[in-house]
């Protein structure tokens, strides 16, 4: 057999798996997004009606809610994670850094569903926070913290702060120590060293991490469902509603394509922005 032939032999199983169980289902889903539901019957065709539903207030609102939550979470997580990563990288003595980092990402290894549930323990009416506030006499009545957007954002920020701390820490450690030394040597103070040297050099890593946050956050169903409740629905929640109640696969498919479109948009924005940075 030729070299190329043998090569194909090695690649074929993975390729068939990906094409058969990802590319083809995705194409079917895309076609489904243009189909229509009449009663319980599916009518294939090219019908943009599902996408037109974006104009409905309930669905437009879900897109908006998802975007608002995701952008807030991304911004807050970056702002929390950067100082944390920098303190671990630059202030914690080297031999304690591994431990410090491990502690900072320990809950990363709790199960996804369990992590959201454990925030309920903290935020519910009888939860840790309310009991503490009541105990200290800071509030007279328990606050409504769970089943709000605040709870969803908190749960997300918790997870993505850990993720971003890991990536930003790795970025900071990869930075040759001599860059900061050179800046100080030439008269820069701590803030100037950060502003002119460390921040610009870690920015590509930060943007990559922020993009990852955006992608994972906007597509997540579990956290808003457990912590946000049903007061306002995010896009993934609306998609799941279509699957459950009405089995409206065409609309669910169309909304999934919209979800993917939002991710693509974010990617294009990041890519453009990154390239600008390099010029």
């Amino acid at each position: 057999m030729s070299d190329t032939g043998r090569g194909w032999g090695f690649v074929a199983p993975a390729l068939l798996w990906t094409v058969g169980l990802f590319v083809v289902p995705f194409a079917v889903m895309a076609a489904m997004s243009l189909a229509r539901l009449e009663g319980r019957d599916l009518v294939w065709g090219v019908d943009w009606g599902n996408y037109a539903q974006l104009a409905k207030p309930q669905i437009a609102r879900a897109v908006l809610v998802s975007l608002e939550i995701t952008l807030t979470v991304t911004a807050v997580s970056v702002l929390l994670a950067y100082p944390l990563a920098a303190i671990i990288a630059f202030r914690v003595p080297p031999r304690w850094q591994r431990l410090a980092l491990l502690l900072a990402v320990l809950p990363f290894w709790t199960s996804y569903v369990v992590r959201s549930y454990s925030w309920l323990l903290v935020l519910s009416k009888q939860g840790v926070v309310n009991q503490a506030l009541l105990g200290l006499g800071l509030v007279a009545e328990p606050l409504t913290l769970a089943n709000t957007r605040f709870a969803t954002v908190t749960g997300f920020v918790h997870f993505f702060t850990m993720l971003l701390t890991l990536t930003i820490y790795a970025n900071l450690m990869q930075l040759p120590r001599n860059y900061a030394r050179a800046a100080q040597d030439l008269g820069a103070n701590g803030w100037q060293t950060f502003r002119h040297v460390i921040l610009p050099l870690t920015l590509p890593g930060v943007v990559t991490g922020a993009f990852l946050t955006f992608v994972l956050c906007i597509g997540d169903y579990v956290t808003p469902q457990i912590l946000g409740g049903n007061n306002e629905l995010s896009l993934p929640q609306v998609i799941m509603v279509q699957l459950g109640r009405r089995a409206d696969f065409p609309l669910a498919s169309a909304l999934s394509i919209v979800l993917m479109g939002l991710v693509m948009l974010a990617y294009l924005l990041c890519a453009r922005w990154l390239r600008l940075d390099r010029v």
């Binding site: 050179a182 800046a183 040597d185 030439l186 008269g187 820069a188 002119h196």
Partner: protein, 346 residues
């Protein structure tokens, strides 16, 4: 600008490892000093202490008479050319070279002008808009030099600045470094493990080993008359002849030598550079020797010699290149070219 430097009984340890012990060193203003030694000898630690990146456990550092031991790098009159150059990859060459002036609050137009002037000084005119990754290794080295000189430091510190360059480029950059130092007049302290590089550029070589200064002086003196066995070996190829103290000087397998040896060690090592061995007559006659392997090096013939008086001993000699040596030579040495040390206890 330029200033003298004084290291006063400086000592430093990293955990249990003693990196430097009781270093005393005076460097004159405008002098080009090379710290030479094998890796781990403490030369880079010493440079870091001069630059303010490491604060010594003991001792004082004075620059221009001022005690700077506790002064951070940003406020020291020193700048460093780093081994990996540490050029900021996200800035143009102009912004790299102008960085120190920017930190000092110099206006953009003036610092760009100064940066372009510095780039011209190191032979990179018109390259101010480029970025570090567009340059060759040698060019990056020049930019690092320009960046460090742009703030007009009193002392310039160079950490193995030529280490990343290939041999040919290194030799030509040596000459250029020396020329630039002459032009700007700044005190240069340069760290290397390459003794040829040290001899090519230094006004004074400081040989270091295991956290101590073994020898210091002008290159020719340190080469010809090293102060220690270690310095002798590190400065270049050396014939070592075992010897012992005798009634009238030194006894060697090649005959007695009437010289006085200070100290009281009984067993000695006699050191002889390959070029000190000559064919003919001299003050000390080593007797006849057979020529073994022979190789031509352009500037000399390198010969392995087997002396008849001590056939177990092998000597290396550099002989004049004008004609191939005979198969048997009569060896002679000028005692002034000999160094004698107590035998090294392994």
């Amino acid at each position: 600008m330029t200033a003298p430097v004084t290291l006063d009984r400086v000592a430093h340890s990293f955990g249990p490892h003693r990196a430097l012990g009781d270093i005393r060193l005076e460097i004159a203003a405008g002098e080009y000093v090379v710290l030479l030694g094998p890796s781990g000898c403490g030369k880079t630690t010493l440079l870091s202490i001069l630059g303010g990146f490491v604060r010594p456990d003991q001792g004082r550092v004075l620059i221009g008479g001022r005690d700077v031991t506790a002064v951070p790098p940003a406020r020291r009159p020193t700048t460093t050319v780093f081994q990996d150059y540490a050029l900021f990859p996200h800035m143009t060459l102009r912004d790299n070279v102008g960085f120190g002036l920017r930190m000092a609050g110099v206006a953009r137009a003036r610092r760009h002008e100064a940066a372009d002037r510095q780039l011209a000084l190191v032979g990179l005119e018109g390259a101010g808009g480029k970025r570090p990754h567009e340059l060759s290794g040698g060019q990056r080295q020049r930019v690092a030099l320009a960046r460090a000189l742009a703030v007009e430091p009193e002392v310039l510190l160079l950490d193995e600045p030529l280490g990343a360059l290939d041999l040919k480029l290194r030799r030509s950059m040596q000459d250029e470094l020396k020329a630039i130092q002459r032009r700007v007049g700044t005190t240069f302290v340069h760290v290397t493990h390459d003794q040829e590089e040290a001899m090519a550029i230094a006004d004074r070589i400081v040989v270091m080993n295991a956290g101590r200064i073994e020898d210091q002086g002008p290159p020719d003196r340190v080469y010809r008359r090293p102060a220690s066995l270690f310095a002798a070996g590190f400065m270049g190829e050396m014939n070592r002849i075992p010897a012992r103290r005798g009634p009238a000087g030194v006894e060697t397998p090649l005959g007695p030598l009437p010289v006085a040896v200070p100290g009281d060690a009984a067993r000695l090592t006699l050191c002889l550079r390959p070029e000190a061995l000559r064919d003919g007559s001299g003050a000390w006659d080593l007797g006849p020797a057979r020529v073994g392997d022979l190789a031509f090096f352009g500037t000399h013939f390198r010969a392995h010699l087997i002396p008849e008086r001590a056939p177990d001993l092998r000597l290396v000699a550099h002989l004049p290149p004008d004609r191939a040596p005979d198969s048997v030579l009569r060896l002679a040495v000028d005692p002034a070219e000999l160094s004698i040390f107590p035998e090294e206890v392994p």
